[in-house]
Amino acid sequence: MKFGILVKESPYNNQAFDSVYHFVNAAIEMGHEIIGIFFYDDAVYAGNKYLEPPQGDRNIKSYMDTLKSKGVRLVICVAAGKRRGVTQDTVNESAEISGLGQLLELSIESDRLVTF
């Protein structure tokens, strides 16, 4: 099946992005296709390249890099990102910045859209 993912919650305040990470890894292992993860609302903070988590703590940036290395598109909403300081200048290289049209495309092209 083809999955699209929408994540809305802040990566450190909430467990949501952790859940996305584990869900997506499981889906890929099972042979499903993830056509993209769309980061909206406070979730765009996951795309900041300056994150420096303490040792032994969750590492959001390495989660992003791992997902990217598995071929998953990581799309940061341009409008939500701009407002919050996640822009072309500050975005993690594993992620890309694009518009809300990408979320619509996920809704159309996926068999299932899952929100976290």
Partner: protein
């Protein structure tokens, strides 16, 4: 994207201003509507407060983004604005308290609409 329109529903269940979800939901609705799909918006729970008449957030230096709902069907081709009847009642509101014309539906009927959707977007 094929010929058939995709049915997508925004489920708005958060109050305005206290959090940003409803404001960014509207930004998404506006963008979606330019792609000629079949977009509907369901207001349930605290989401119905977004449609309350008389909002004036000027003292907070926040813009009244809910005004967009006045034109969202005509200017942005959103197909339906549904409001759940039970949520209105629980909050002491009725149709006359709302800023624009909507389809007030029983929860059961709204649930049937949800079943027709390809994707549900909760905000």
């Amino acid at each position: 994207m094929g010929d058939q329109k995709t049915k997508i529903m925004f489920i708005c269940s958060t109050a305005p201003y206290g959090t940003i979800y409803e404001q960014e939901a509207i930004e998404a609705m506006i963008m979606f509507s330019s792609y000629e799909q079949d977009i509907s918006v369901a207001f349930i729970g605290d989401g119905v407060f977004s449609l309350k008449k008389g909002q004036d957030p000027s003292l907070l230096n926040i813009k009244n983004f809910t005004q967009t709902y006045l034109v969202i069907k005509d200017d942005f081709e959103v197909s339906h604005l549904y409001v759940e009847k039970e949520s209105l009642k629980e909050r002491g509101l009725d149709e006359s308290d709302l800023i624009t014309e909507v389809e007030v539906l029983d929860r059961n009927v709204l649930r049937q609409k949800m079943d027709e959707m390809k994707a549900l977007l909760p905000f």
